[in-house]
Amino acid sequence: MKEYIIRLVYVEMLGHDASFGYIHAVKMIHDDSLLVKRTGYLAVTLFLNEDHDLIILIVNTIQKDLKSDNYLVVCAALNAVCKLINEETIPAVLPQIVELLAHPKEAVRKKAIMALHRFYQKSPSSVSHLVSNFRKRLCDNDPGVMGATLCPLFDLITNDVNSYKDLVISFVSILKQVAERRLPKAYDYHQMPAPFIQIKLLKILALLGSSDKQASENMYTVVGDIFRKCDSSSNIGNAVLYECICCVSSIYPNPKLLESAADAISRFLKSDSHNLKYMGIDALGRLIKISPEIAEQHQLAVIDCLEDPDDTLKRKTFELLYKMTKSTNVEVIVDRMIDYMNSINDNHYKTEIASRCVELAEQFAPSNQWFIQTMNKVFEHAGDLVNIKVAHNLMRLIAEGFGEDDDTADSQLRSSAVESYLHILGEPKLPSVFLQVICWVLGEYGTADGKYSASYITGKLCDVAEAYSNDETVKAYAVTALMKIYAFEIAAGRKVDMLPECHSLMEEFLASHSTDLQQRAYELQAVIGLDAHAVESILPSDASCEDIEVDKALSFLNDYIQEAIEKGAQPYIPESERTGMLNISNFRNQDHHEASSHGLRFEAYELPKQTVQARIPPASLASTELVPVPEPMYPRESYQTTTVPSVSSDAASTELKLRLDGVQKRWGRQTHFPSTSTSNSTSLKTVNGITQVDGSNTANSRTRETYDSRKQVEISPEKQKLAASLFGGPSKTEKKSATGHKSSKPSSHMVKSHAPKSSMEVASEKTSVQQPPDLLDFGEPTVKSTAPSLDPFKDLEGLLEPTTQVSSAVNHSSTAAVTKSPDIMGLYTETTAGAHHKDSDILSGLSNPPMTNMVGGTTTMQVAQSSKGPNLKDSLEKDALVRQMGVTPSSQNPNLFKDILG
């Protein structure tokens, strides 16, 4: 039997159904034979879960076995307790387990503690009175039991730090004893004294010491000792070191410890083992919060990790980059992230990295232009994975500008957005969210700057609606955009002539199955029929940022309601009030009773309330808000009640819920489309035309704040310092940081070298207008390379309508210039010439547009690296040394599996 059960467990592990044998496993635990009983327990813990039906049969046996004088039986029962006892059965076994805490066998004590810990995890309240037991067990004679006690204490301290501050001293003294090898030799592991206990203790100390100076001061000595004693050649030694770093980065900072932590990190990063690099990157991410300057020493190593084929390491590195992003390096980092995002297929991680890109871009964007371009890239590649909110944010940003009182900048921003979108529309498959943004922007600002005719934009919009004919939302956005454009045209007094394809599209939509689409199409038709004045008041141009006041109480409907009520309609009863009342009415109407009461009701039916027929004056009712208002009960005719919102439609006696939904949906739309009124009645339209939802307004002001703060950050001296250090030039700090910052802009324009003429036009115009001097500045250290890049710009200046040829030439020359620059800089700092060639190789290999941007930017990591001459050389030398020695810390046990290897 025993063998069968074990086979059964095995079979289930392989993924087959073994539920027929569960009962046999349960029977086995009743057996007297220890072997059979233990096997039974094993099978039961693997088969069943705490809510399984068979648990009832087990609890009694467990109770009996916990009292057994054979400690193995007790252990087996404790094992089962951990896995199978649920909240309700905890009281049944709790007293016995508490007794077991004093059991002579340490194995039993250990497991009893763990069982209590498990109970604590399942329901903290059930064992709250036993917490003191954990403290007592900390002083257990057996180090194993003491070590096990640390697990529950760790959990307890995580939840509530303050009540355990008194234990700091004892933890420190335990850690000291462990580090001084006072424990039995059996706990040594690879010549480390009880490393697992050390790790646990360090974790606990990190919790206790965080932002507590006094507690931290107690720890400094012992942590410093461990730093010194740790042997970094073994894996476990590094594990303890890593934990020390975590502890140091979490407790109140101490310069000396931070220094040794930084040392340890640099050792990790320089090692050949990927595991250690991973830990190093992780540790760096922790320490960087306290002392950001550490990162600079390790930039090269970090970049190496980014290039590493190991995916885990790469992700960890991106996490680190995410943490160390500042306004100065955001462009490089986000570009890198987007590149990486394009290269992976894992949707889970793609979503995460996309949201991080968005977050960073929102927080640190150096310019609106850059922000929009970045968002475009993110949407293009991961559009379906991005939160819809991000799209709304982008729309709002374009609509609002950056909150400065500079209308020209805003309109420039908008027209550049329009252009980039018109260009992007040419690409085949775009994500729905992105299309929505595009449609909205085109509708709102497509014709604003007068560069494009209405017919051109509308043609594009029709194309979109046709190309994505199975996406209703996109079509709806497109129709609304069409409507807006026509409205602007009419308002401007121009004659509107609909394109033929637009006509056919409208006809299709008028007969659409989607009511939403249909309605929008009808609205469009209606708007076109109106005269200029009416249209302007319905859809004022560029009004998306104006406030719309939503009259939640619907006070304008009061008269109508009063009228309806006087005619005998029932007042509105809020939904919350309705359910109980329905029950009562069901209770009375036997017919309805069975249909609707499916579940059992345990509480008694509430008494039918006295129907307070004293009608509340209808007027006051109507003027109250839609939501609360306790209402009197109206038993019988409850299903005939009118809703306040529904009054606006037709008859006053229809199903209440349906009507409510419809109304809410219409209004929900408003938040997405502040300036477009999509509701049916014209009376509503005029209201909406002037008003807006409050929520978006407050949000707007928030973004404004963040951007303002960003502006301040930009000027900070910190940035100038970093820029200087990145460029490696000791002098001219200010100038260079300025040029470096600006010069990144033209290159980001050049990114769009394959843009159609139209979009190129503005980009090149801009660069030619503002950039040439900047470029010159940028080129100062590299005179040769700037010369060719300058000429095409001058050409461009002359040309009003540059051809794509020229623009691509510009691009080429600029990339050439850029790829050259590191070389020249390499000569500049001759010591590391070899390394520079390597860098420039990387660059030319990756000379896709984002990379050129990177070199242009202030924050060029790589240039930064190359400028850090001696550091790089050192590390390379050390690397080579390590390779020569052939030290590979991968500690596989060569004896293992020898026989199977043959």
Binding site: L46, A239, H274, L313, F897
Partner: protein
Amino acid sequence: MIKAVMVMNTQGKSRLAKFYEYLSVEKQQELIRGVFSVLCSRAENVSNFIDAESIFGQDSRLVYKHFATLYFVFVFDSSENELAVLDLIQVFVETLDKCFQNVCELDIVFNYSKIHTILDEMVFGGQVVETSSSEIMKAVEEISKLEAASNAISLIPKSASGWRSR
């Protein structure tokens, strides 16, 4: 805490799977397959750590180690230290090695319950309780000794009852 311990061979057959939080059999299989597909796509000489959030949900990491034909996989959350878990795998394998004198895949298949006993001595309810391989060995040996003893005693009444029923 440790969420799961798995041992699987290089063909993706699981040899040991223990989950410390209850999961249905189907879910377990799905996870095992997911883990295997990640493992076999990894090159040699890369780190032993994998970010397992896409398989196991929020806050989960995975550490694996490859021995001959077997992958040893531990899945755990942020309260453990990756390098330490890597060494925990080492302890586990060392203990197996001591127990079976040059352990191989077949030992694990044929001594399934003993493997579980060893693992239970090390990891209990998702927490690491014992990390010294000699201590674990002592406990396991004692258990098997007592089990054998109790078996010998219970043999007699069983055979007697067998006689009676005949």
